[in-house]
Symmetry: C2
Subunit: 204 residues, 2 copies
Amino acid sequence: MSGLRARQKADRHRRIIEAAAALFRDAGYEGAKIETIAAQAEVSVGTIYNYYQNKGDILGAIVSMEVNEVLNAGRGVVANPPANVGDALDTLLGIYIEHSLHYLSKEMWRQAMAISTQLPDSPFGQAYTALDRALTEQIRGLIARLQALGLVRRDIDGPALGELIFNNMNMMFIEFVKREEARLAELRTAIRRQNRILVAAIGV
Amino acid sequence: MSGLRARQKADRHRRIIEAAAALFRDAGYEGAKIETIAAQAEVSVGTIYNYYQNKGDILGAIVSMEVNEVLNAGRGVVANPPANVGDALDTLLGIYIEHSLHYLSKEMWRQAMAISTQLPDSPFGQAYTALDRALTEQIRGLIARLQALGLVRRDIDGPALGELIFNNMNMMFIEFVKREEARLAELRTAIRRQNRILVAAIGV
DNA sequence: CACAAAAACAGAATTGACTCAATTTTAGAA
DNA sequence: TTCTAAAATTGAGTCAATTCTGTTTTTGTG
């Protein structure tokens, strides 16, 4: 039950993702027709639907790769945070934000977010929720680390704080991708300004 | 340039919205076909598109009504807030949350949110952003009021705080409508828990 | 190697949102 | 009242995602 069939399957998966990623970039998500993706990937339309439940799930696979890279990059910061609450937060969230447009355009993000709320139970919808949770957990991990290091008060509700910080960042990021002219630097500045309130409240 | 034509126009608007609202409720947003809405409203498909740019804008009109009611209800709290920071916030956000499922189902909210990120420049996309901003401003108004009453420290960055509180609530609400089994009471409790951190930090 | 069942594929058919050219209705002037 | 331009309506047609059904390929077995 492996061998040729499995190899072909993996290969087709790869070809579909590569074709879709290229087309989403060039023509935008809406502009990329399934028929075109199929042609580019040298499979039929039906086959694409055999591999992915719908167009959104193809985008979802691409988004997942990107977010996983971001999570990876974040691990380093949590393991070895700057010795200052404000900087520690800024560094971690900075990594998230700066990595966010590497492979995905704002339009792709908008579509991905839209689909994840529209179809929360589709494979991608669930995967996206899991990614959000993983990011939240990473921020919580940082808070816990800072508490252990004696940089954040022990009596602070760490999990609630982590979620609060993530939610705020995420919402700001949503606003950011909605405005094509918004710049990454502005986004970081705005988030830093909001977090300043928290930093003042939670430091020892 | 008024009289009959204007009357018919208003009447058709009303009929379309009523038909759509009923169908969205019964069959869900996706399940409600434009053709069916048209038949129910006794207009043709083309006429619907003469009144609304797309299906999302019809939903948008309904969402706007709901959010405007919420904003109205909130005004009373801002004018006369409970004399305690935690209660004041809880009362205002409580009003938002408790009113939220009056006319709209979770599915309708999901669709509305999805459309507003997917098409931020469509009439509804812009309207939705404006509503979010109005809610943020109302929360900021409450903060300012509490500062004026001496219940919140004057050196707190009020606007940033207001946005932080709104963003967190909004993100929690998004998660809430994504999970069909989530209850309003849980949502309120979770938000209260997060806001407790802020309340402790900003009180005089 | 031959064969039957299972898995995967192909692409034509379906479906539903949205468009557009033709037709009808209204407003206002003569 | 009659006529004409502007405004609005209509519904058949277009387009692209998704589904469906028949065909082909792969696998494991005798």
